[in-house]
Symmetry: C2
Subunit: 180 residues, 2 copies
């Protein structure tokens, strides 16, 4: 079949599974980098998410065309985030890695990690600066804004805590309540 026809057929019958996997890994990485998360870390995560079996570091390196050091580093980070787990196979020295596949658990782990890394330090600073006294009219705007942001952030913090403690069904219920 001539290349041009092959191309048309592929387009007609939608993309192949391999193309789909590629696209998924690519997009997951792109989205993550927009969220301040290392692109490669997200790609490793995506690869393991859609892998039917646990993979070795070598297989990850091979699939994503990355170096040993890079693969190792990002697998460690994913273990640290609780998004990937280790599997030890009897009689083998190699470590195998597989991703947490329950989406609610994935999202919960991400919330825990980012809340600790990003929201909590901000809350601490807001508490500190909330103590300054407005000594002049020019400072009043400052104390006002800080008060508002503090209220809002505390709300967000408590909401996250509640979400983290809850289970997937409870999230669905809240979601249904939100959209009526």
């Amino acid at each position: 079949m001539l290349p041009v026809f092959k191309k048309l057929c592929v387009a007609q019958y939608s993309m192949t599974v391999e193309e789909g996997k590629q696209k998924f890994i690519e997009s997951w990485g792109k989205m993550a980098s927009e969220w301040g998360i290392n692109r490669t870390m997200a790609q490793v995560h995506a690869l393991l998410l859609i892998a039917p079996e646990a993979m070795t570091a070598d297989e990850v390196m091979e699939c994503l065309n990355i170096s040993r050091g890079n693969a190792n580093m990002n697998l460690r980070a994913l273990l640290d985030w609780g998004l990937v787990h280790k599997q030890l196979k009897a009689g083998e020295r190699k470590e195998y890695f597989y991703a947490e596949k329950d989406m609610w658990t994935v999202v919960r782990q991400i919330m825990i990690h980012r809340k600790k890394r990003e929201l909590e330090p901000m809350l601490k600073v807001l508490d500190e600066v909330a103590n300054v006294e407005a000594t002049c009219p020019e400072s009043e705007t400052f104390t006002e804004v800080v008060k508002d942001i503090r209220l809002f952030s505390n709300k967000a913090n408590q909401t996250l805590d509640a979400l983290i403690k809850s289970d997937a069904n409870w999230f669905t219920n809240v979601f249904l309540h939100m959209v009526r």
Copy 2:
């Protein structure tokens, strides 16, 4: 007063307003950069948030020690995000900038912008790859995971839409419902 005593007094009577402002601008910038937003853009935003009056580009440059080009670029971006507005003073050629101070509006604008930039492209890709057929057992994991993520992302998308349309009180109500 000897420096060492001055330092003790400051510590005792909490930080000064100027120190508080500095700290706030710094932290706002740091948090933003962890969220994939330009650090300087967030610092300009913080500066205008706590400024009692609208400021010129020159004043922003001066306060944050940044170049003219940088100040201009980030002020444009903030206008684009709807977080900062222009003020034209009669008889003056300079442009003045002031920040949107209603926190609910600020958060809503950020949600609108990031949803468009980050969530929507991912939803599009998920729709595309959801069409691939599982032709072999190895592809089943892929289609399963994509199905799950798609469900979850669509929920998130709808929840965001509802939140964006809602007002601050409604958010508070949902929050109260979430934390009991």
